[in-house]
């Protein structure tokens, strides 16, 4: 296996909250073009380590490298400016606003010329065109209109809008937090296809999920988090779901070959 520069790499990350150590000297690695699933028991610190990577928390120790270069994000907005997108479990959509408004929330496009310059007028046509293109690319354009409010969409469609927003603006990678947790079986299926579709565009994805069948289906590698650190990284082809759950809960020691260094 040739050594490739990871898209994002965390080394010896530590985060303490008083006496609680949320991240305990943990490593992290996302490789180009892959889907990396992050699994772990409740309280293992999955979300803590992912928050450290997207700038939502600042680690006390350790370093984060993006494409080999050290970074220190002070806020998620800084991470976003670098092309790191996050799909939150709550989706972070405004229900009463339109699909187009939501896709451009916080990075609206102004009109060219004096209308945009002096009156700060938005280029609604351009934003709607862009939103429509992005949704069509991902095969989501079954919604009636790009100007319809998000609250009139089904759960799967909303998830689709959130994923499309991330995919449209991500240049480095996307973090997805439990994207199928709130969905029915069929809608989950559609979202998994969407995740694979985004991957096929060359954007790597960090997938946090509790759903083992989904993880084993789409992930290229699985990062198992336990007691605040990376226990091991396994390939879904080499282990069964029950093995993964056993390692996650401490019932099974991971074999030496996959142990984190």
């Amino acid at each position: 296996m040739s050594e490739v520069t990871p898209v994002v790499q965390g080394r010896n990350l530590v985060k303490r909250y008083g006496h609680v150590t949320a991240i305990d000297n943990s490593d992290f690695e996302l490789r180009p073009g892959e889907i990396l699933a992050v699994i772990g028991d409740n309280g293992a610190g999955k979300s803590s380590i992912v928050k450290a990577i997207c700038g939502a928390t600042i680690p006390d120790e350790g370093e984060i490298l993006i494409e080999g270069k050290p970074v220190s994000f002070k806020s998620p907005i800084e991470a976003r400016d670098m092309g790191i997108e996050m799909v939150y479990q709550t989706l972070a959509l405004s229900p009463a606003l339109s699909i187009a408004d939501n896709m451009f929330m916080g990075r609206e496009i102004r009109r060219k010329g004096w209308m945009g310059e002096w009156l700060h007028m938005l280029d609604k046509k351009e934003m709607e065109r862009f939103a429509r293109d992005k949704l069509t690319e991902l095969g989501l354009m079954t919604v009636q209109s790009i100007t319809q409010p998000v609250e009139t969409l089904s759960g799967g469609q909303r998830q689709g809008v959130a994923v499309a927003r991330a995919a449209a603006f991500a240049t480095k990678f996307i973090i997805m937090d439990e994207p199928t947790a709130a969905l029915g079986v069929k809608e989950s299926r559609r979202v998994l296809e969407l995740i694979l579709d985004v991957k096929s565009r060359g954007i790597p994805i960090i997938l946090i999920s509790h759903n083992m069948p989904h993880v084993f289906e789409v992930a290229d590698r699985i990062h198992i988090h336990r007691l605040g650190k990376r226990l091991c990284t396994i390939s879904p082809g080499d282990f069964t779901m029950s093995d993964a759950v056993a390692m996650m809960t401490g019932a099974l020691e991971p074999p030496e070959s996959v142990r984190a260094a």
Binding site: M1, E34, P76, I77, R80, M86, Y88, T90, L91, A92, L93, S94, P95, A96, L97, D101, N102, M105, G106, R107, E108, R110, L119, H120, M121, L122, K124, L140, T142, V143, Q144, P149, E151, T152, L153, S154, G156, Q157, G160, V185, K186, E187, R189, R190, P213, F216, E217, V218, A219, D220, R221, S235, P236, G237, D238, T240, M241
Partner: protein, 360 residues
Amino acid sequence: MSDTSGPARKGQDFEHSLDKSDKTVAAFKARHDTFGAKVQHLLHNNPTLVPVIVLAVSLAVFGVIAGGRFFSAFNLSLIIQQVSIIGMLAAAQSLIIITAGIDLSVAAIMVLMSVIMGNLAVFMGVPSGIAILVGFVGGAAAGFFNGFLITKIKLPPFISTLGTWSIYYALLLWLSGAQSIRGADIDANAPFLKFFGRTFELVGARITLGSVLMVLIFVVLWYMLNHTAWGRHVYAVGDDKEAAELAGIRTDRVLLSVYVVAGLVCAIAGWASIGRVGSISPQSFYEGNLQSITAVVIGGISLFGGRGSIMGALFGALIVGVFQSGLRMAGVDVLWQVFAIGWLIIIAVAVDQWIRRVSA
């Protein structure tokens, strides 16, 4: 690592039977809605339609009851003139209610700033223009203080502005010595303060500059809310503050700016009120806070935030004016005007609840 083309699925492929199932998850079914559901959907997409219909119907009804006098250009322009100050306060109030807040201090800010403008220009010999600018800055500062309490001290808007209402009201009583500034004194020393009381004739209607200013304020704020990024952020904050925060909006900064703009609009209304009333009275517009909320609510702007057009508040203010004028012309006792407005508020909020229950 294994190659990605053939992920192992042995013993884990329990979803394969789904292949036979219906795959059209995201497609919409053709709508076979009842009439009521269609109306609900239409109103959901166009929340300003309700006040427009109510305004049209009430104009027609009062036209029939009160006869031709009601529809005269003079009477219609009088209605607009009568609601102009409350209309401006309603414009400021709309901004705040769209963010899911409420401002009980709008009228107090307005009267306080008119007292400051009057004191400076009439008694202290400050040029009117500068006195007015000081009032504008003061209005923005009063709004900033409201916003500061809400975003930094994290007090609920209702409590913050209930407190500042009393504070601003006490300040205006102190600054004015509880005395009115007489119209004759304003005319003699600072006639520019009454600028928005001037009128011009247009096809039989006597339109005051204050009426024009009110419409202008609504148009400018409508533009800001619908065609600038700031406006989209204001709606997003009112709709779901946490979602807006996660989407990268600095919600506290947006909220603070909304209260500052509202304070400024109140100060502009303070200047206009001097022309409208003809004098500066610390006792005037004591019910202005609640009247502005009434106009906003009748205008179809949701008290839960994020929904409704600011133009609705203009129609809401006009509906109140039409009811008052129509009932007065029909010779109905004032108490029944108040009675009717009360029912309008309750019906408006009930309709809003019904519209919000829409489910695709």
